[in-house]
Amino acid sequence: METKLLWIPLLPFIGFLLNGMFGKKFGPRVVSWIGCLAPLGALAVTYSSWKQLTGVVDRLDQVVFPWIWLEGILEIPFKLTFDGLSATMCLVITGVGSLIHLYSIGYMRGDAGYHRYFAYLNLFTAFMLILVLADNLLLMFVGWEGVGLCSYLLIGFWFEDDANCVAGKKAFIVNRIGDFGFLLGMFLCIVHFGSLDFGVLTDREIIAGVAASSAWGMPAVGATTLITLLFFFGATGKSAQIPLHVWLPDAMAGPTPVSALIHAATMVTSGIYLCCRLMPLFESSPVCMAVIAGIGATTALFAAFIAFSQNDIKKVLAYSTVSQLGYMFFAIGMGAFSAALFHLVTHAFFKALLFLGSGAVIHAMHHEQDMRKMGGLRKQLPFTHMMFLIGTLAIAGMPPFAGFFSKDEILFSGFMNAFGEGASGQAQIFWGISFLTAGMTAFYMLRCLALTFWGESRVAPETVNKVHEPGGWIAFALFALAIASTVGGFLGVPAILGGHNVIGHFTGLHVETSGLSAAALETHHAMEWTSMILSLVMAAGGLVLGYFFYGSLADVRKSLTSENPIGQRLRHLSGNKLFVDELYHKVVVRPIEILSWLLFFFIDRLLIDWILVEGTALVTRATGDFFRRMQTGFIPGYLMTFGCGVLVLLYILLNILTGNGS
């Protein structure tokens, strides 16, 4: 029984309460202190708890109070658990989170809502920590919804612009659609497992029993398949996968540090975390794993394709996030949970770095985000350029940066599934997609780098002289993240490079290969080398292509995209995000709007306002009889509805009964 675990989410929560209630009176100085000390404190507690996780003690538990406790029916305690997996997540959240808090001091200076900003950010940290520390699904759902709420509040942070509010609302509602899957999955867990505890849900024996049973007499669908598919649907909402990815690019309306923390490093990865947490459950359903791999690979390709033509620097990064998350899901689908989590961690480092770097550029450019109005910034912002370059190399998968190791592990697991033992054609397609995406990633990231920092300056003349390097906390956070992006990969150096997969072992997600014979091990290693070299070539190819296309060979690129009809078409598709928003608008939003509008129009407007109110108003004026209006107006209509309702119900009842009775 550990008592300090609660402090991990509690400290940021206290920060939220203090800043939220008294922030206005405190002034920015105190607000910054409280706001940053809260996640730093949580980091310290996490660190000391982590130190307690030795080989002997592999988890810490704390029951805070019995939450919903019906003896024998449903027992859900408010319980926190700290094991390797949550420890890793907590370290990322508090570590990267603290850096982003510090960065925000510089970035948000002078903003009218400074205290509000820090309050929300602290609240987000608290909920995110609850999400990863929860020992059961319900508590996790509390964090799950809480981070959604904070994300909504922070996307709409600059609410003076209506578009930001709309983006916030879109994010919230799309997430709620995903929650629908989460909730149903949770109910099914109660039905089939009788519990929401992760201990029960990951017990392989119990799972085997449940997997054999079918869901509600639907023999075709195994219970665990249905449950995991529902959870995955929930994960697609939070982690912006097809079909629910539409909210993430719009979410870039929030302040850039928010994009870095919530929409790149932490919240959007909670879907991955959910899958890792329930690894045995997911593994029990090959159908679901195939679906996850397919969706992940498709999303990765799809988002990378869209990223090609985005001109807003943050939008490029947003689609790149969607793409990288697709990668992680692809890894999960391939059974490489450890690789997914590893990529999650390194991605948190380099994507936070890239976002904060873009934030520094945006800050320097006085809130200009369009890359067409940048260019040549290398001279004025050498430090930021350096940081951004490191981030780009890391995400492209260049050794020795962090992305290389994690991406390599994912591609290798795909490679093994595609060409190793028991390979399937399906897996080969998935691998092909993800392999292609690796090159595309390198290409569009280099495009982003080149458009922003290289070439000729296209900066508007009035801002060109005001561009300045960031200082203080902004530089510090960038520097720290750059170091993490450089060395972070050594957490999981593969065996063939003489490493020992530290993170995989620590989180308990690693699947041992030691049982293999020497010959098999030999093949295994050979395949690993092949995969590594292939992916390296692909990434390097993407980078080189990007370098020339956005450098000396720009003419070739222009003729390809503006003269070649296929190029034009592709650019049109990519530039319009493959028309997914439009599709959803037509298929989902419009019908609901129309239905609601019809109800509003026919009942509230037409019937009541026009016919009854306006229409009878004429009569009223003519006769001067007020009560007439009441008697000839509404009530008969209402009585009609009432009477018809009664008749219909009676009719159905009698119909069924006489039908059954005789």
Binding site: W67, L153, K169, L650, I652
Partner: protein, 493 residues
């Protein structure tokens, strides 16, 4: 024959008695004579104090008394069990909050008169009796008494046209629905061999599958109750009445009438049964109610009207446990309904109390009138946000736990489609529940619309309701257990 009243009978009727007596006292205390015209502006704290004292006393009588299940009190007219006391306590709690808020709101519109309070208390007394009634006649008398009180409350502000209009409509439609209730009772009386007691109906009444008249009787009674709780297609009065009636009375109507009616309906169905066919019909009503309520709420600009449709939608959710109970899996899921009612009560009351605080007799009831509230009155905005989140069913609020319990029951009972539609429609509902939140936090105030005084009673009521939303969301344990216990007492297990 000597007429006897046993101590248990006195104990059972004590809460309702206290409420009626308080109503009488309130009526007499405020007899001002002819100069009363301008006295409606006074806050009249003494009335609020008497009212609070009365409702607290009644609440104590409800909570402390009872213990064991005693049936057939007053020759079978009522019974004393934890179920009735639980529902009665919910009503009384709502009464306490309404009384607290009434003084500040009514004086702001210049209508602060003793009649309002006594009507509240007479209605509340009838509702408590309705929760305990086990005889068709006592059910009917209680329903009519509470309806009379609510009709008058709806038309309380006689100088406002929408108010009188709403009350008139409510009255006519209410009388119409009472007819169905009565007809249903007549059917049951005839079919069950000439007894009015629910226990006799349960014992002698033929099952639905066998007897058409019995099924028709139960259905007609269900229709009568469906009108009271606003289930589609018997809901048409709700938007107009909610829009017209004084806000604080709307809060009371929305909460208490629903609690008492659902309690009585549950008691009736537990006793009478109804079988598969009736459960299918109620399931259909539930589906239509959930969908229509939520869809119609989407485009409303008047916040009272929006909440009216939202209330209809919540009626739909509340019908789900009845469906489950009638299918033979048993009425254990009734405990979810009790919990949901509690969660719904505090939440809805909080929402209406916020509008009462802001409206202040100037009809500021558009969603735009909430613009920028967060910067002017952060605490009021926080309570409103909590209420909206709870209505939408976001975790850590009471509404989430309630929805969780109901949908879990639905899935466990094999009614996956009800849970699906429920969850889908609550996803839709997030859209309109967010609109007030967006208005409060993300928009600028225009003009002086939030220049409110600070009526202590309303603020206290707001704080209590907001606290309850959070408490029930974070630590619902005690209440969940209590509702399960109450349900067991009704089922006699």
């Amino acid at each position: 024959m000597e007429l006897l009243i046993s101590p248990t009978e006195i104990e059972a009727i004590l809460p309702a008695g206290i409420l009626f007596l308080t109503g009488l006292v309130l009526l007499l205390v405020d007899l001002g004579g002819k100069e009363r015209a301008d006295s409606g502006m006074n806050p009249k704290n003494h009335l609020v104090f008497i009212g609070c004292a009365g409702s607290v006393l009644a609440l104590m009588a409800l909570v402390t008394g009872g213990g064991s299940v005693v049936t057939s009190l007053y020759a079978g007219a009522m019974s004393d069990d934890a179920f009735g006391r639980f529902a009665g306590a919910l009503v009384t709690l709502a009464l306490l909050l309404t009384t607290l808020g009434a003084g500040g709101y009514l004086s702001s519109i210049g209508q602060n008169r003793g009649e309002f309070y006594s009507l509240l208390f007479f209605g509340a007394g009838a509702m408590v009796l309705l929760c305990q009634a086990t005889n068709l006649v006592s059910i009917f008398v209680a329903i009519e008494t509470l309806s009379l009180s609510v009709f008058v409350l709806a038309g309380y502000t006689t100088d406002r046209r929408p108010s009188s209009e709403g009350a008139f409509k409510y009255f006519v439609l209410g009388a119409f629905s009472s007819g169905f209730l009565l007809l249903g009772m007549a059917f049951l009386y005839g079919v069950s061999g000439g007894s009015l007691a629910l226990s006799d109906i349960a014992a002698n009444g033929p099952q639905v599958a066998d007897d058409i008249l019995f099924a028709v009787g139960v259905l007609l009674m269900v229709i009568g109750f469906a009108f009271k709780v606003g289930a589609v297609p018997f809901h048409s009065w709700i938007p107009d009445v909610y829009q017209g009636a004084p806000v604080i009375a709307v809060g009371w109507m929305a909460v208490a009438v629903k609690v008492a009616s659902f309690a009585a309906l549950l008691r009736l169905l537990v006793a009478a049964g109804g079988g598969e066919t009736l459960s299918r019909l109620i399931a259909a009503i539930a589906v239509v109610t959930m969908l229509l309520g939520n869809l119609a709420a989407l485009n409303q600009t008047n916040i009272k009207r929006m909440l009216a449709y939202s209330g209809i939608a919540h009626t739909g959710y509340l019908l789900i446990p009845l469906v489950l109970g009638l299918t033979g899996t048993g009425f254990e899921s009734g405990s979810s309904m009790l919990f949901y009612l509690a969660a719904y009560s505090v939440t809805t009351f909080a929402a209406f109390a916020v509008i009462a605080t802001l409206s202040r007799g100037q009809d500021r009831e558009s969603i735009d009138d909430l613009n920028g509230l967060a910067s002017k009155h952060p605490m009021i905005a926080v309570v409103m946000t909590l209420a909206m989140l709870s209505l939408a069913g976001i975790p850590l609020t009471a509404g989430f736990v309630g929805k969780l319990m109901i949908f879990r029951d639905a899935v466990e009972g094999g009614y996956i489609y009800l849970a699906l539609i429920g969850i889908i429609s609550s996803v839709i509902s997030v859209y309109y529940y967010l609109r007030p939140v967006v208005a409060m936090y993300f928009r600028e105030a225009t003009g002086d619309q939030h220049e409110v005084e600070h009526p202590w009673g309303l603020h206290l009521a707001l704080a209590l309701a907001g606290g309850a939303i959070l408490l029930l969301g974070i630590d619902p344990q005690a209440l969940v257990e209590f509702s399960v216990e109450s349900m067991r007492s009704l089922l006699g297990g």
